[in-house]
Amino acid sequence: MSMPIDHVMALSAVLFIIGAAGVLLRRNTIVVLMSVELMLNAVNITLVAASRLHLTLDGQLFVFFALTVAAAEVAVGLALVVAIFHALGRSDVDDISAMHG
């Protein structure tokens, strides 16, 4: 291993923050979904790094399951985005406010 584990985890934290910034600062729904994927990916890096640190495979199994959940989440999320786009003609996050209290 050529990179200390804590540096890998710091990289993961930075990527997570960047993804959160995308969620908070962008309004395009597709870009927001991509930013969520970025955050999931950052957490996966942490899990793999922890797996390497403790020399157990459980962290990598978590990543395997996270990949599956991410695939399901993207499929449903994009189907919803397409449905909203066809109903409203736009895809900005602020347009989806029918349940605004």
Binding site: I18, A21, I30, M34, V48, L57, A71
Partner: protein
């Protein structure tokens, strides 16, 4: 040693750059391309962390399947207006301040936590291979594995229901939405 470290640090820097590209791209398709770059770089990082199977799964599932879905939806939407200067009111400085604080805390906490003695030890050659992952998966994680199948089935059914609902609503509204 230093050569390998140089490569890994370069990959890490490029991963940060590509992540910034995702959230600052004006066109969604450009964000998708930055995203592919980020997933590929993450896969390289996984290889450096002795996780070859996860690296391959990352490339196939994330960079392959998920990004194809994203690009497909971007294609459905067509070319959209460049909208980086989105009117967000007072949300932007507030969000930036909160993110900076969270990032400071996270990075500082990670760097100050003493790592165990395990990081110095070199894992055995089969660590993270498909065989090792499969052995653990089907010995210790069988029930979550089966539940994953259930989750995927639920996702497929949900997507089909959403797609059908859209068609019915469009026809009920006068059928002018036909494409």
């Amino acid at each position: 040693m230093s050569g390998g470290a140089l490569v890994v640090y370069a990959v890490a820097a490029l991963a940060v750059v590509s992540a910034l590209g995702v959230i600052s791209a004006r066109q969604p398709i450009h964000a998708a391309l930055w995203m592919v770059a980020n997933f590929g770089l993450t896969a390289i990082l996984y290889l450096a962390l002795h996780a070859p199977f996860i690296a391959a799964a990352q490339l196939i599932v994330y960079a392959g399947a998920i990004m194809v879905l994203f690009v497909f939806v971007v294609m459905l939407f067509g070319r959209q207006e460049a909208a980086l200067d989105e009117p967000l009111g007072g949300q932007r400085p507030l969000a930036l301040a909160g993110l900076a604080a969270l990032g400071f805390v996270l990075v500082r906490a990670v760097l100050q936590t003493p790592q165990g003695a395990g990081s110095a030890a070199e894992p055995d050659p089969g660590f993270g291979s498909a065989g090792a992952i499969g052995a653990v998966l089907f010995k210790d994680w069988v029930l979550p594995f089966e539940l994953m199948g259930l989750l995927l089935l639920a996702a497929v059914v949900g997507v089909v229901v959403i797609a059908h609902y859209r068609q019915d609503a469009g026809a009920a509204d006068g059928g002018s939405t036909g494409t």
